[in-house]
Every structure is written in structure tokens, then in C-alpha cells.
């Protein structure tokens, strides 16, 4: 049982939601899918007076058009997977959603936007959004603003959300590319230890212009431009050279109960190479 005297709010519009957030900021949390917030309340890790449910705000959309993909704050992973297959780089969203830990129940409950707002380094979504150059949409009491995903993830569990703001959705621009996603976890129920989102130009065999964004290996997603790694023909060096290069790019690796930082540094290159292989096969 949750031991604090929590008050549940379900506002009917964004103005009401942001006013509630602004009023109770320090003692309030936004309830999206609930997969992280609710158990943290049950465990007593968070001591809140208010939760604000987004369900009536009309933020449940998943749309894919020529302008890209838009995902509302309340849209679940299951909605993303139920949509028609995305094209180009945006396909990466569905590749990552397929493997979200926790089985179909969590995919029916959890949300892309909730995961973005939580910004757990050991998770799938932050690095995928950075890889796709997604834009985060925020709504505050007085105005809306957008933040590129690269700038949104400030540190582990820390995002660029200001007082009274809530995340209303993400937009992913269209881009012609081949994509591959690889995730390392040591048990089915585990959060990821390392992820890699490969985005390759879809013209010819050259990898010039390719990027791989690593997740779960550092506090923030790490987007790597592969150009400096390639030879004059746009080809990769040996696996050992790739792994050494990746290790050198990593800086201070993320360290948590899932795996020590040294382990993440060792596997980062392997995970990157496997994502590249998958992208080249797509």
C-alpha cells in the first residue's frame, strides 16, 4: 500500500494540468503509464501529495505522416506497435518498442514519453530519441516550447523540464535511412545494460554519414558519428579497432546494480557492431 495521503487528479485540459503542476510542483508527479511512478510510491521511495493523470488530455495519439511520427504523452508501446509499420529511420521506434522489458502487460501500460521523462540511463527510449533527432514537446502554464532530444537529457534521471511544465509528446522527423537496434540484457526481466541505435544512409555500401547512438552505457545517450572511424571508401576497420574506438569515446561509463561501468565499456563496442549488422541487413 502507498503510505502517503496521495490525492489523484485527472484534469480535463492542459491549462488545468499545468496549473496543478505549477501549484504543487515539489509534491506532485505526472502519471503516464504508471510503470515507474506507481511502484516507486508503493516502495515509499517517493513521497508525494498529488499525482496528475494525463488520460483525459487527448495526448494518446500515434501518427505517422510525411511530416514524421508524432507520439502523444499517453500513447503506450502497444499503440506504437499496433500502428502500421513506420518507414525510414522512424522504424527504429517500433524496433525498440518490440523488446521493452516486462512483456505485453508493460507494453500495454508503459509509454515512450514517460520513459523519456524518467531518463533512466538503463532504458531504451532516451537513446532512441537522440538517434532519431526527435523533438520533445513541453507545455507550461504560460507557453509551449520544444527541445531537441539531444539537449533534453541533461544527466541521469534529469531532463530539461521546468517548473509547471509537462511533456505532451515527441515528434520524430522523417528521414530516409536503414536502422538497426540491439539491446544487451542478461535476463528477460532486466533493464538494458547497453543499447545501440544504428542509423545508416540507405545509399550504397558506404557508411559515410552513419551514426550509432549508445544507450545505458553512460549517464546520457552517446551519439557517435562514425565518419572518423571509416576508411576512404566509407568502410569499417576491424572489430577490435571498432571496440577500442568506442571505448575511447565513452568517457565515464554508467555504473549501477545491473553492471559495473568497466563491463559496460567492454561490451559497448560489441553492441554497436551488432546494431550496425542489423541495420545493414534491413
Amino acid at each position: 500500500m502507498i503510505r502517503t495521503a496521495l490525492r489523484y487528479h485527472i484534469p480535463d485540459d492542459l491549462d488545468e494540468a499545468t496549473a496543478l503542476l505549477h501549484t504543487h510542483q515539489e509534491r506532485t508527479a505526472v502519471l503516464g503509464g504508471g510503470t515507474v511512478l506507481v511502484p516507486s510510491l508503493t516502495r515509499g521511495e517517493r513521497d508525494l501529495d498529488h499525482v496528475i493523470d494525463l488520460r483525459r488530455l487527448g495526448l494518446g495519439e500515434v501518427s505517422s505522416t510525411a511530416d514524421g511520427v508524432r507520439i502523444g504523452a499517453s500513447a503506450s508501446y502497444a499503440q506504437l506497435l499496433a500502428a502500421a509499420p513506420f518507414t525510414g529511420a522512424t522504424r527504429l521506434l517500433q524496433l525498440a518498442a518490440e523488446g521493452i522489458t516486462g512483456g505485453p502487460q508493460i507494453r500495454c501500460q508503459g509509454t515512450i514519453c514517460g520513459s523519456a521523462a524518467y531518463a533512466n540511463p538503463s532504458s531504451d527510449v532516451p537513446a532512441v530519441l537522440v538517434a532519431l533527432e526527435a523533438v520533445i514537446h513541453l507545455r507550461g502554464p504560460e507557453k509551449s516550447r520544444t527541445v531537441p532530444a539531444e539537449a533534453f537529457f541533461l544527466d541521469a534521471f534529469t531532463v530539461d523540464v521546468r517548473r509547471g511544465e509537462l511533456l505532451t509528446g515527441v515528434a520524430v522527423p522523417p528521414r530516409s535511412a536503414c536502422v538497426g537496434y540491439y539491446k544487451l540484457k542478461l535476463a528477460e526481466g532486466s533493464w538494458p545494460i547497453a543499447t545501440a541505435s544504428a542509423v545508416l544512409p540507405d545509399t550504397g555500401d558506404s557508411l559515410i554519414g552513419a551514426t550509432v547512438t549508445l544507450g545505458a552505457v553512460s549517464a546520457r545517450p552517446l551519439r557517435l558519428d562514425l565518419d572518423s572511424l571509416l576508411d576512404g571508401h566509407g568502410r569499417l576497420p576491424t572489430a577490435g579497432d571498432i571496440d577500442d574506438w568506442v571505448s575511447g569515446q565513452l568517457g565515464e561509463p554508467w555504473d549501477d546494480e545491473l553492471a559495473p561501468g568497466d563491463y559496460r565499456r567492454m561490451v559497448a563496442g560489441v553492441v554497436l557492431r551488432r546494431a550496425l549488422q542489423r541495420a545493414q541487413g534491413n
Binding site: 500500500m1 495521503a5 516486462g102 512483456g103 526481466g189
Partner: protein
């Protein structure tokens, strides 16, 4: 419509509370709950539907799985007030007129039930899978039940049970439509 009084002991002080309306196993109900109650707590303690189990309270084990508006969810992750106006099916609602449904019978026949604690998650996960596929591969079955932890490690017989249920549904198409 039924109006069910809470059986839990009220806590000291002013705790936000409300009347909650929802349809559970086809029956429209109103119950009183505190805002901080979890859906699993309301189902078990107030509606006395003990087929929904409390395991980890962390979204890991799947023992508290129910269907909410037709989708399997872990009810320990749902604040009870968020269930307002929803349609919920618990494990008790899967049995047809008090008799085990075809999927449950397949678990029974193939020793898919051992201690039975993880049954809600396994049954609802299998039910969702079989609603979309009448001939799933073992890999698809394993992926479908991945959100559930069986402490008896009976996974192989659970896979066999789901496979048998799928075969039975192909033999009797009406049963597949029932998805149970």
C-alpha cells in the same frame, strides 16, 4: 449494479478518497477507495476477487495481471482511481459459468498450473496471444509470457499448455473466438 462497502480499515487522518465505478467481470460496481489504493488492492480486499495475486508490487512478476479495457495490465501498477469507468476482467471472469475455460483446461491437462501463483499473468498473456494467433510458435509463446515469473520454473509446461490450447482452438474454431 452493486454497491460494495470497503472492508479495509480506514487510516488515520484525512486521506483523499472517492467512489469508483467500474465494470468487473461483466458486473457494474461502485466501490469506495482511497486515492492511493492500487487496483489490485481494491480487487482483492474490497471485491474479494482473490484470483488476482499480489507478488512483487513492482510490475515484475505478473501475478496481479487483469484485463483492463481488453488489454492485459499489471494491476499493481494501476492507481485504483485511474480505473474509473473501465471494464475489467479478472481470473474469475475467465471461467465460463464457474467451469474452467478451454485455455485453463489446457493448463490443467498439461500441468501448466503448479503452485498456481503466476496463473493470472500466464493466462491473460496467453489469452492475448491466442486472440491474434491460433498457431503461435514456441518463440512467440515465450515472448508472450515474458512478463510473468513462475517461481516453480514451470515454463516448459506453460509453453506446452498454450500450444495445446492453440491446437484445441484450431480444432474447435468457436473456442478460439472465445479466447479463453
Amino acid at each position: 449494479m452493486s454497491h460494495i462497502q470497503p472492508t479495509a480499515t480506514p487510516l488515520e487522518g484525512a486521506v483523499p478518497a472517492r467512489e469508483l465505478s467500474m465494470t468487473v467481470n461483466g458486473r457494474f460496481l461502485k466501490v469506495r477507495c482511497e486515492d492511493r489504493h492500487l487496483l489490485v488492492e481494491v480487487l482483492r480486499e474490497q471485491l474479494r476477487l482473490k484470483g488476482t495475486h499480489i507478488g512483487c508490487l513492482n510490475g515484475d512478476c505478473g501475478a496481479c495481471t487483469v484485463e483492463l479495457n481488453g488489454q492485459p495490465v499489471k494491476s499493481c501498477l494501476v492507481l485504483a482511481p485511474a480505473a474509473e469507468g473501465t471494464e475489467i476482467t479478472t481470473l474469475e471472469g475467465v471461467a465460463l459459468d464457474g467451469e474452467l475455460g478451454p485455455l485453463q483446461m489446457a493448463f490443467w491437462d498439461n500441468d501448466g498450473f503448479q503452485c498456481g501463483f503466476c496463473v493470472p499473468g500466464q493466462i491473460f498473456a496467453a489469452r492475448q496471444l491466442l486472440a491474434s494467433s491460433t498457431d503461435p510458435t514456441d518463440a512467440e509463446i515465450r515472448a508472450a509470457i515474458a512478463g510473468n515469473i513462475c517461481r516453480c520454473t514451470s515454463y516448459q509446461t506453460i509453453v506446452e499448455s498454450v500450444r495445446a490450447a492453440a491446437a484445441a482452438s484450431r480444432a474447435v474454431p468457436d473456442e478460439a473466438e472465445k479466447g479463453t
